[in-house]
Amino acid sequence: MKKILVILTVPLILSVLYACSTTTSIVQVHPEKVVGLSDCRECHPDTWAAFNHRAVGFFEKHRFYAQEQRQACATCHEESFCSDCHARGEIKPSDRYADSPERNLPHRGDYLSQHKIDGRVDPTACAKCHGRQNNERCATCHR
């Protein structure tokens, strides 16, 4: 009985809270097509200026922005843009997009040798993408 009450009450509370919201949803598609590494500051002097893709620290901070404003990312980026790196893909992103050297794509150059060093320096950086998934290549040697 208690479970049924919870199951009925939670959606009701959520519906009431949603009905009280006053924000207008972010547009689905960016009004102007953006090509390449965008500098959002060119049009947005406000909060969105932080999303300047050419800023030195943007790559390290993008995971925080993605959780805060996922829908804002989606106005320009297809879901496949995330899955190119954050899903099992087999081809290194830096190989698949060798013609985009300006992008901060992981594992550039000879990564077979370098991964042993990077793995010692900061294994958590590896684990973010390979800890629980996207790890077939790891399992080839690390059985």
Binding site: V56, E78, E79, S80, I91, G109, D110, P123, A127, H142
Partner: protein, 443 residues
């Protein structure tokens, strides 16, 4: 999505079966959402890739890949209903001697409803969830919305997508995040996730995250995550940017990670913790690393940026390491980009003492794009007799039509694992975007 036989061995489920499972799972949601009277947009991209390279065990392999993404969106005043699909398949055109000569994966496949008010999103299917402590791919449901007075919430539940487990990744995962924000100043969130396996606690993580921008010149993000099963902080990770001038940026970073808590129940063997029951584990649970760093970037003219950066790693067991250097980039949108970077790693062990260099240039000439990229690592101590490891990449692509592009790249490496490695790649990309009005007329 995997199934297991009675001996606990993984049996892969076929790509088509996975796709159909998602489509069937999505049917109830499509019926629940109001019918869309507006136009429909269909878009997609097919990338066919043919590679020539040498495998780790020195065999020549010729894999052919097909990466496909599709999306369909119906948009009107009641919101939008979309279906997203992304996946790939691979077959080796040369070596078919093992059952691994072909493979594939459904990267995502979900139905999504977005309301015009409150940033309400309902997703159902295989998706990537990023909410506080959760950065997960799952087969399940995701719901988020803004509420009144700056509050918002997100919920998710489903089966974790674990692609090649040494152990299972939990049978079911669920969690959520509650946020409060003042759009001009901050967003602060608290989040949690929980996963069970065989009736036992598998993962329990809680966290707090912030995004502060009290002034136009300041932007700070960060997160602290706590592991309730090991009763320890997994990670503190904070980054601050201060822009005193429009063309000057100063960044500071701080992170603190406890391996015992962070690597708890990873499914990849390489991250297994050493313990009495697992003496062959690779990660020392007593290790901790604190990273403090900073960078300064200056943009004297719009197209040029020069930057210097520094990072110090302090390990509980392994000693210290310092990583520092600089880079410069020249960038003309959709026309030309060039860059140079030079960094030095100074650690207390021989393998953590090396210098790395990178030079790249990419030029667009009408429909042709040409790229050259050079990456070099110079180790202080030889590894497998090699001190200097480098890769040279040349790439070119040509836009046949606005929708169709062909490209190829060739790279050469000399490194501790390969005396001379040559690899090539040819790719053909076809993209389309079709918009139809409610009456079915193309626009």
């Amino acid at each position: 999505m995997n199934i297991y036989d009675t001996k606990g061995r993984r049996r892969p489920v076929g790509l088509l079966v996975r796709l159909w499972a998602c489509i069937i799972a999505l049917c109830p949601l499509s019926a629940a959402v109001p019918a869309m009277a507006g136009g429909i947009t269909l878009s997609g991209e097919s990338t066919t890739i043919f590679r020539i390279r040498e495998s780790i065990d020195k065999k020549d392999i010729y894999p052919a890949y097909e990466f496909l993404r599709l999306s369909a969106t119906s948009l009107d005043k009641a919101g939008s209903l979309s279906f997203y699909f992304g996946g790939w398949g691979r077959a080796d055109l040369g070596d078919r001697s093992t059952d691994k000569y072909r493979d594939g994966d459904l990267q995502y496949g979900y139905l999504s409803y977005r309301a015009p008010k409150g940033n309400l999103v309902v997703n159902l299917g295989r998706q990537f969830v990023a909410e506080g402590v959760a950065t997960e791919r799952l087969d399940g449901v995701y719901l988020r919305s803004d509420f009144a007075a700056g509050f918002g919430a997100a919920l998710f539940a489903g089966a974790p997508v674990v692609t090649e487990p040494n152990t299972k990744g939990g049978e079911f995962i669920y969690g959520g995040r509650i946020t409060h924000n003042m759009p001009r100043y901050y967003t602060i969130g608290v989040s949690a996730l929980k996963s069970d396996q065989n009736g036992e606690r598998y993962r329990e993580e809680e966290g707090i995250d912030i995004w502060l921008h009290p002034l136009k010149q300041i932007d700070a993000v960060g997160r602290s995550s706590y592991n309730s099963i090991t009763s320890g902080w997994m990670e503190h990770d904070y980054k601050l940017t201060w822009n005193p001038l429009d063309n000057l940026s100063i960044n500071a970073t701080y992170s603190d990670i406890n391996y015992k808590d962070y690597f708890f129940h990873m499914t990849t063997n390489v991250f297994s913790l050493i313990s009495p029951s697992n003496p062959t584990g690779l990660i020392d649970p007593n290790e901790k690393v604190r990273t403090v760093g900073g960078s300064i970037a200056y943009t004297p003219i719009k197209s040029v940026t020069v930057a210097g950066d520094y990072k110090n790693y302090t390990y509980e067991i392994a000693g210290d390491a310092n990583y520092y250097g600089g880079k410069a980039t020249f960038f003309l949108p959709a026309s030309f980009v060039a860059g140079f970077a030079m960094h030095r790693m100074d650690g207390t062990t021989d393998t953590l003492r090396y210098s790395e260099y990178r030079i790249f240039v990419s030029k667009k000439i009408e429909h042709l794009d040409i790229t050259a990229d050079f990456f070099d690592v110079n180790y202080d101590r030889r590894i497998n007799g090699v001190r200097n490891s480098y890769t040279v990449i040349g790439a070119a692509s040509y836009e046949i039509t606005p929708r169709l592009r062909i490209g190829a790249d060739l790279d050469y490496s000399r490194n501790p694992d390969y005396d001379n490695e040559v690899a090539g790649l040819v790719k053909l990309t076809y993209a389309f975007d079709i918009r139809r009005s409610a009456e079915g007329e193309g626009k």
